[in-house]
Each structure stands twice: as structure tokens, then as C-alpha cells.
């Protein structure tokens, strides 16, 4: 740990870190120059593949592999969509990068476009990030001035334009095909796959979608080399052929009941406990932790006993969480009611479900109705079974929905109730002493208005 030197956050904290001048003073754009001078697109893909870089947007898909899915010798345009919609609750690492070091993001994006032969890139930016917009636009302008963007970049036969696109203010716009639809000016209703974006994406053309942090890793891999990247993180489990390993530095977003919330860079595989103690200054107010969200709310819940699992791509799954997600760790101290936690989680997914798929649309709405009733002292033990049935039924993993939003809705339900079942049961019995055994349908509460 002590030997780990942050690279993604290296510039952050410097005066005017967001300017090209400051970025270049610390070696910025040398990777781009090197790539354009010495490498062919296929070489860059090879390097990224060898680095085993996995997507930082949530799914952890191997980045180099994704790039190879693009059709070979495609005659028309290839588009690159930079997913900067960052709307997973608890997640703000993309924001830090875009606000304070936009050139790092742009350098990564330009190299990634070169590798994938994309000639147009769209940055799909969460609309609630006005400062990112401002800083990115200024940085893009600086890049055009410096010849890093536009026609014949650095005199080479490579041209690229980057457009900054304000998002439509919905969680679902971050799902890659929802993003594509939204970018096309439509409702962000995720598309059915196949075809995958690499074959038919934005404007029905081959498209790469990558997260901001994913591309930000690329210049460092070019500069420091594959062995450097592979020296950080957790190697693949030799006994698990499906584990692709978790290499490289990662930005962890720590929030919730800790003394020092923030965005911290650490090697993939740091544990929740290390994160809380070494970076977060411990749980706040001298309290004990009860649980933590490992990587954005959709990943589920770790109990305090599970805090020693590594936060790599495989770790949270070992505790029945959905995965590492965005590595946004939200700490819940001992005073937090799991009923309130779950209610809040269900409220979010009910609000954000795009509404296409019946199981997601109705499951998320039904779950929040039940939780509202439970919190109002009218819960039944049976509700826990119904909630678990919803949790076990909705999602792309069981195959009942189009996109992963509903898996994200399901996991908090499954983890919270299965890991804290006695708390739920006690709450229900205590608050509904006469009705908790009821099994017949009961009167619903009036529909509450939902805000953001």
C-alpha cells in the first residue's frame, strides 16, 4: 500500500489543474504524442488488452476486448461515446476527473478514439454537472488550439471531433444503450441486444461506450507500460476461469458515515475496512459501522463482518453482492435502520426505472409501496417474502428485463432482507403488533408523491 503512488489523481489539488498548461507541465499529452508517433490503432488495442484494463463504469467488462468487437474495415463512421452520466448514487469519481483534470480525460479519450478508429466522440455528460461542462468545453477548445483535436491531429492521418452533450437527467441515461437513444434525441429506453453497440450503436453505426475513468487509465498504461498496470491490483483467480483479474489503480468514492468522505485512489482490491480506516478516518462520531454499499447502491450491501473482502471485481460477489460496480462505498453506521435504507433504495429505482419492462416497472413500484407501508407501521411478515420474490425475479441475470437497472434494484432488496432479516422482522412485529401475521391483501397507503 505504502508503495502505491496515485496516478489518476496526481494532478488534482494543483493550482489550475484543469488547464492544459498545468496538465502538460506534468507530462500531459506525452502518451498521445507517443501513440501518434509510434503506434498503429491495433497496437494500442493490443496494449490495452494486455493491460487487462476492465471498464470502470460498473460492469467491469474488459476494455480491450470490447474494442475488438468493432467490425474490421468498417467503411463508415465509428462513434465513441464517453459515458459521463455518472448517476449511480454515491459515485463522484468521474466528476473529480472532469472538473479538476479534464485534460487527462481528453487525452485518454483521444487515444481511445485513435485505437478504435472513431472519428467523432460524444461526451454524454450528466446535466447536473455544470462545472464539468464548463471545464471540459474549455479543455476541448484548448485541444483544438493545440492541434490535439480536429483534422490531421499532430500532423498525422487521424482526425477527431469531440462534442459535449448534456444528459437528460435520468439514471437510465447512463445505461449504454439508453445513453445512445438519449443521444439520438429519444427517450432513454435501453435497446434490446443484440445488436450490441459495437455493431450497431449511435445513429445505427458501430459505437464504443466507455466510462470516463476507463479512458483516463489509458494514457498511464501507454506511459508506464503494461507491466506497471499489471503490478497493481488483484490477479485473476487461477481456479476461476471466468475471473479476468482486477488490475490497475481505482478511484474509490467514500461517503456516508465516515469522518473524511472523498474520492481516493487505491489499488484495486483494497478492503472496505482499509478504505474506511486508512482514508476515511474511521466511522464518524465514534460509532461502529453496520454495513456498507460496496459500489453504488445497485450493488447491494456488505455487512460489517464482510468489510475484509477485497473491493476488486470479484470480491463483493463473494458476499452475494452484485459486484464492484462503481466502487462507490457508502458507509452506514450502527444507527441506520435497514428498513429506511431499503425504502430509500427502492424509492430510487422506482423513480428511475425507465418503465419498458413489466417486471422492472411494476416490481420497483410494488416494492416501494410495501416499504412505505412497512415504515408506516402496517408491515406484514409476508411482505418480506413478496419483496424477496420481486428481488429474485427482476433483472437481466434471471433474464426477465432488458437492462441491468432492475438487477440494481433487486440486489439491495435481496441483501438487506437476507442479511438483516431479524431487524426487518422485529420492526414489523413491533410496529404492527396486531397485523404482522396477516396474509390477505391489505389496504394500500395513499400514493405518495416522489421527488428526486
Amino acid at each position: 500500500m505504502s508503495t502505491f503512488e496515485p496516478v489518476l489523481l496526481a494532478n488534482i489539488g494543483k493550482e489550475k489543474s484543469f488547464t492544459r498548461e498545468v496538465y502538460e507541465s506534468a507530462g500531459g499529452y506525452t502518451a498521445l504524442r507517443k501513440v501518434l508517433k509510434e503506434m498503429q490503432p491495433a497496437d494500442v488495442i493490443e496494449v490495452v488488452k494486455d493491460s487487462k484494463l476492465r471498464g470502470r463504469g460498473g460492469a467491469g467488462f474488459p476494455c480491450g476486448l470490447k474494442w475488438t468487437f468493432l467490425p474490421k474495415d468498417h467503411p463508415g463512421p465509428i462513434y465513441f461515446c464517453l459515458n459521463a452520466d455518472e448517476s449511480e448514487p454515491g459515485t463522484f469519481n468521474n466528476r473529480i476527473l472532469m472538473e479538476d483534470d479534464p485534460h487527462q480525460v481528453l487525452e485518454g479519450l483521444i487515444i481511445s478514439c485513435f485505437a478504435t478508429r472513431a472519428t467523432t466522440a460524444y461526451i454524454y455528460l450528466r446535466v447536473e454537472y455544470p462545472l464539468c461542462f464548463e471545464r471540459l468545453q474549455a479543455a476541448i477548445d484548448e485541444c483544438y488550439e493545440a492541434g490535439y483535436l480536429g483534422q490531421k491531429i499532430l500532423g498525422k492521418d487521424f482526425s477527431l471531433d469531440i462534442y459535449l452533450h448534456s444528459g437528460a437527467a435520468a439514471y437510465i441515461c447512463g445505461e449504454e444503450t439508453g445513453l445512445i437513444e438519449s443521444l439520438e434525441g429519444k427517450r432513454a429506453w435501453p435497446r434490446i441486444k443484440p445488436p450490441f453497440p459495437a455493431i450497431e450503436g449511435v445513429f445505427r453505426k458501430p459505437t464504443v461506450v466507455n466510462n470516463v475513468e476507463t479512458v483516463a487509465c489509458v494514457p498511464h498504461i501507454i506511459n508506464r507500460g503494461v507491466p506497471w498496470f499489471l503490478s497493481i491490483g488483484v490477479p485473476a483467480d487461477p481456479d476461476n476461469p471466468r475471473d479476468a483479474g482486477s488490475y490497475g489503480p481505482k478511484l474509490y468514492c467514500l461517503s456516508g458515515h465516515v469522518n473524511k468522505p472523498g474520492c481516493y485512489e487505491a489499488p484495486l482490491g483494497i478492503t472496505t475496512r482499509q478504505l474506511i480506516d486508512d482514508f476515511g478516518g474511521g466511522v464518524w462520531k465514534g460509532r461502529k459501522a453496520k454495513a456498507a454499499i460496496p459500489g453504488g447502491i445497485s450493488m447491494g450491501l456488505l455487512t460489517e463482518e464482510e468489510f475484509d473482502l477485497p473491493l476488486d471485481f470479484a470480491g463483493p460477489g463473494k458476499a452475494d453482492c452484485l459486484g464492484l460496480g462503481t466502487a462507490a462505498v457508502v458507509v452506514l453506521d450502527e444507527t441506520v435502520s435497514m428498513i429506511d435504507f431499503l425504502h430509500n433504495s427502492c424509492r430510487f429505482f422506482d423513480h428511475e426505472s425507465c418503465g419498458q419492462c413489466t417486471p422492472c416497472r411494476e416490481g420497483t413500484a410494488w416494492s416501494v409501496q410495501m416499504l412505505e407501508r412497512i415504515r408506516a407501521g402496517k408491515g406484514r411478515l409476508k411482505d418480506l417474502e413478496l419483496l424477496l420474490e420481486i428481488g429474485d425475479t427482476i433483472g437481466i441475470i434471471p433474464g426477465t428485463t432488458i437492462c441491468g437497472l432492475s438487477d440494481g434494484a433487486a440486489w439491495p432488496i435481496k441483501n438487506a432482507i437476507r442479511k438483516f432479516r431479524s431487524e426487518f422482522e422485529e420492526y414489523i412485529k413491533r410496529t404492527n403488533a396486531t397485523g404482522y401475521m396477516e396474509t390477505e391483501p391489505v389496504e394500500a397507503l395513499p400514493i405518495a408523491a416522489h421527488g428526486h
Partner: protein
């Protein structure tokens, strides 16, 4: 050729067939329930009612490997070696879960819903749903939203299949309908000032698998289970869309498109759909009359054949104006009848109503400008009798010159086409016989006024603008007093028994080469008449 396994049954598919799991299951006699999928619209795979288990059978080892997750049948192609399981516990649970979800906020107002009896939500619930409600009980809302002149939306009954939205985007190309809001608060709506107002609008009601979209023309007129459905052909234009005529006790309540890939696919236009009300118009002609010394006198149908025979035999040269609303069989019989009285009787096609231009829609659907169903059929018959050389104008000129003494005109037009211009040119005729539904200047001056029938009352065949012949039977009986045109010809030609268009068509197929393809059994979707003699379509 390939083999697909559906619930253990082996089903053959041809190499060039592109079927999804729903379609291939249907071939195995297995119904995979679905809401959002429709063969005429893009696949969205969102309702999730058609989830099935799938896998592949290894061609060599015969070993079957199943995919662990459920897949939407609509989105999953059936190819050689595909395996589908539609009846497992997992599939049953997911269907029940979807049904349960759809009913959480549904008003369950079937007793007052027009769709009851032909509602997928209802049917699927009985077959696949939970037997008890588990969700909380809420006071239901039943909001109605006016989305356009023809269609009304019962907001809370909607299952968000988005078929109607896709229809207006992909088939009518008008895009009026849209989804507003998100998640469980989603609703179908239109923009302010842009109602659902296009000539294909009524199709969204047929597409709606539940009772959300109601047809204002049909709303609350009939419970669907009281009606009988008859295969018919729309007479509104020369596209000749295959339709279903829904009727109860000789009253037509509704026309719906009937799937016919060679003609109208799954659609029909609103002009045709709502263009049946004239059938029950109070102004329908039902009084049978002949001209008398002063005014007109009533006669009986039983007196008509003899009276006509006397008048026509002594009228000199005869002419017939055969309406493009008559069936092929009627045209043939009328031509025969006139030639019986006068071997050189002139035969011509009656007026062909044309309105504007053909209207093409993005979903490969065209409303034809020619507002009659059988111009081509009548033309082919006439070509057989006289080479098709005689025109309406020829006939009228010869009446004016006194060369023709007796004229038999047929109508069936929705808007009067036997107009003043024609009537005036007929003044010299000794005998004018008219069969029609509505009065007209010609009717006013006819010697014989014979009330005829409307399309839903006829049996026989029409040939559409593309040369596609469809046969159909009557759906309702004509009002008392009116008589099917063909049955009069049949009687006067001294044919045995009841008028039988089937036997007439068989005779036509054996006599007129253009109708070769109509020999034998005619499928409900009709046959293409592939005669080189057919005139090219406009």
C-alpha cells in the same frame, strides 16, 4: 431445412424461414402469450410476457444445452437446433409475475370495458395469472383521455406494450402517440394540439391488447360476445382490404382488418373501417316500383322477372352498365342475362369513383384513390364478353342516338354516382332498369326501381387493384324490400335453387382464362389472378 424443438416436439422449418420462438411455437400448437410483440411492428421485447427457456441441441451428439436465463420468445430466433421450453415452472412463474404486475394498478373494470371478451389481459390472467391478489388493495382510478377524433384512451387500463406508439411511428408515419413520464407512472399521450388524427388511426384500437384504446365509433355499442364475425372484404377502395365484419342480428357494428399478407397485412384505413354505416342508413331504398301512367306503382319481386322479360324483349338493342361494386359473379350473370335477351347487348363498366390520389404510408400500406372494390373484376368479365371495348360514354351516346332502347344500370355506390349527367343522357331510352341502394337522378327517372344491397349483404368475389381475387359471404341480410342483385339474375337465368356465387365462380374460372387461378377452393386470403391479360395497375 432445420429442426426446432418446442416442448419436446420436433418442428420443421425451411432454410429461408425467419421465425421467432413465438411463431415456431405456434406451429407446434403452443401459444406463447405476448403483449408487445406484433409481427407488423419492430420488436421491443419489453412486456416480458413471452419469456421462455431456450437452448441448443448439438447436431452431432444430440446433447441439449440450456441457457440459464429466461429469454423473450419474440426476440429469440428459431434456427436449426434451437430448443424452446414454454411450460416449465420457471416460465410459468415469470408469466404469473408479469400478469400480477400488470394488474397491480389496473382498474379491473371488465364489466364496463369494451375489450372484455377479447382482452389479452383477461385471457392471459385466466390462463397464466395468480389466482389471488397479493398486492395491496387500492381504490382504482379510471381516467379517460381523449387522444383524437376516433380513439379514446382509458389511461389506467394500459399495459404499456407501446404497440400503438410504434404503429404511429412505423406504419402511419404520423407519430402522434408517445409515452410520457417514467416507470410505473408512464402513460400514453399526445402533444397538445397534435391529436391522433390520421387515416389509419383506428388500427391502434385493434393493436391494443387490452381495453386501453377504445374506438369511439364502437364504444359501448355491443358486448363482443354477442357479435358474430364474418370474413369479408372492404368495399371502400380498390385495395380491397380483408376484413372481419362483426355483426349481431343483421346489424353491422364494427369492421376490423383481417391479416392478409398479400393485400393489407394487418391494417385497414379509417375510411373503410367506419365506412359501413351506410348499410343501415335510413335512406336505404326498400320500395320496389315501376313507372306507371301517372307516377310509380309498387310491384312485388315475384312479378319482376316476367315484367322485365316483356319490357326488355321489346326494347330493341340493350345495354348494361355494370357497377364496380358488383361482384365478379354478379357482373358475369348480368352480362349473360342481357346477352340472353339481346345477343349483341352492349356491356360497359359503370362509373368508377376516384377521389384524389393514392395515399401511401411508410408501413407499406396504400389507400387507393379508386373508391370501389371490383373495377378490375368487372373489367375482366367484360373483356370476356365484348373485348372490353365498350365504354360508359359509348353506351350513353347510343342511347341518345336511339340505337339503344333498354339500359340496365347497377349501383351500390356510397356516394351517388348515377348522376344528373347520366340521367339526362338516358331520356331517350324506352326502358331503364336500376338496381341501387340510394336514390339518384337515374333512379328518379327509371322505369324499374329495384332496391339493391350493400357490400356486407353480398356474397361473391372482388378483384382488387393488384389483381388479387378474394371471395366472401354475406354478413348481414339486406333490409326487407332490397334484394341481392345476383339473386335476381340467377332467377331470371333460370338457374336451379338459391343463388350460388361459388358455382358461378367455378364456371367463370372454367370459361375465362383470366380467372384460371380461381378454380377450386379459394383460401380465405384469396388468390392472385396471374393472367397476362390483366391490365397493369394504375
Amino acid at each position: 431445412m432445420g429442426i426446432v424443438i418446442v416442448d419436446g416436439q420436433e418442428i420443421e422449418i425451411a432454410d429461408d424461414e425467419r421465425l421467432n420462438a413465438i411463431q415456431v411455437a405456434r406451429r407446434a400448437g403452443v401459444d406463447v402469450p405476448h403483449y408487445c410483440w406484433h409481427p407488423g411492428l419492430t420488436v421491443v421485447a419489453s412486456c416480458r410476457m413471452c419469456l421462455v427457456e431456450t437452448g441448443t441441441r448439438d447436431a452431432e451428439s444430440g446433447e441439449i444445452k440450456m441457457v440459464p436465463k429466461l429469454v423473450p420468445g419474440c426476440q429469440t430466433p428459431a434456427t436449426d437446433g434451437s430448443v424452446f421450453v414454454t411450460n416449465s415452472e420457471k416460465v410459468r412463474h415469470s408469466r404469473a409475475f408479469v400478469e400480477e404486475g400488470l394488474l397491480i394498478d389496473h382498474p379491473i373494470d371488465c364489466p364496463i370495458c369494451d375489450k372484455a371478451g377479447e382482452c389479452h389481459l383477461q385471457d392471459y390472467h385466466f390462463e397464466h395469472g395468480q389466482d389471488a391478489r397479493r398486492a395491496d388493495i387500492r381504490p382504482f382510478t379510471s381516467r379517460r383521455r381523449d387522444v383524437g377524433p376516433t380513439v379514446t384512451l382509458f389511461v389506467d387500463r394500459c399495459v404499456m406494450c407501446s404497440r400503438c406508439v410504434r404503429f404511429t411511428r412505423e406504419v402511419s408515419g404520423t407519430s402522434e402517440l408517445m409515452v410520457i413520464d417514467r416507470g410505473a407512472r408512464e402513460e400514453i399521450d399526445v402533444f397538445d394540439g397534435f391529436p391522433l388524427d390520421n387515416k389509419l388511426s383506428g388500427n391502434v384500437v385493434d393493436l391494443c391488447p387490452v381495453g386501453a384504446l377504445g374506438d369511439k365509433d364502437f364504444l359501448y355499442k355491443q358486448r363482443v360476445w354477442f357479435m358474430k364475425s364474418h370474413d369479408g372484404v372492404c368495399a371502400g377502395c380498390s385495395a380491397g382490404c380483408s376484413v372481419v365484419v362483426d355483426e349481431n342480428q343483421d346489424k353491422v357494428y364494427r369492421l376490423r382488418p383481417r391479416e392478409n399478407m398479400a393485400v393489407n397485412k394487418w391494417w385497414m384505413c379509417d375510411d373503410g373501417r367506419y365506412g359501413f354505416h351506410h348499410v343501415h342508413d335510413e335512406a336505404r331504398l326498400v320500395e320496389l316500383e315501376r313507372r306507371a301512367a301517372a307516377g310509380y306503382e309498387s310491384i312485388e319481386w315475384s312479378q319482376v322477372p316476367a315484367a322485365l322479360e316483356i319490357e326488355l324483349s321489346s326494347a330493341g338493342r340493350l345495354a348494361g352498365l355494370i357497377s364496380p361494386h358488383l361482384t365478379v359473379e354478379e357482373a358475369y350473370l348480368l352480362a349473360q342475362l342481357l346477352r340472353k335477351f339481346d345477343e349483341e347487348a352492349l356491356l360497359a363498366l359503370g362509373p368508377v369513383p376516384v377521389q384524389g390520389e393514392d395515399e401511401h404510408y411508410p408501413g407499406d400500406f396504400t389507400i387507393r384513390a379508386e373508391k370501389c372494390p371490383n373495377r378490375r373484376g368487372v373489367e375482366e368479365v367484360l373483356r370476356h364478353f365484348n373485348g372490353g371495348a365498350t365504354s360508359l360514354d359509348d353506351v350513353l351516346s347510343q342511347v341518345e342516338s336511339g340505337a339503344v332502347g333498354g339500359v340496365w344500370l347497377t349501383g351500390g355506390y356510397r356516394e351517388p354516382s348515377l348522376d344528373e349527367g347520366i340521367a339526362q343522357r338516358l331520356t331517350a331510352a324506352k326502358v331503364v332498369v336500376v338496381q341501387d341502394m340510394f336514390t339518384s337522378p337515374v333512379w328518379e327517372r327509371a322505369h324499374f326501381r329495384l332496391p339493391g344491397v350493400a357490400f356486407a349483404e353480398r356474397s361473391g368475389s372482388y378483384v382488387n387493384c393488384a389483381g388479387h381475387l378474394q371471395s366472401f359471404s354475406w354478413a348481414v341480410r339486406p333490409p326487407t324490400g332490397a334484394r341481392v342483385e345476383g339473386s335476381l339474375y340467377w332467377q331470371m337465368l333460370e338457374q336451379p335453387g338459391m343463388y350460388n356465387p361459388r358455382s358461378v365462380l367455378a364456371e367463370i374460372a372454367g370459361t375465362i382464362p383470366a380467372f384460371d387461378a380461381a378454380a377450386g377452393e379459394i383460401p380465405s386470403t384469396g388468390v392472385a389472378l396471374e393472367a397476362p391479360a390483366m391490365s397493369p395497375t394504375a
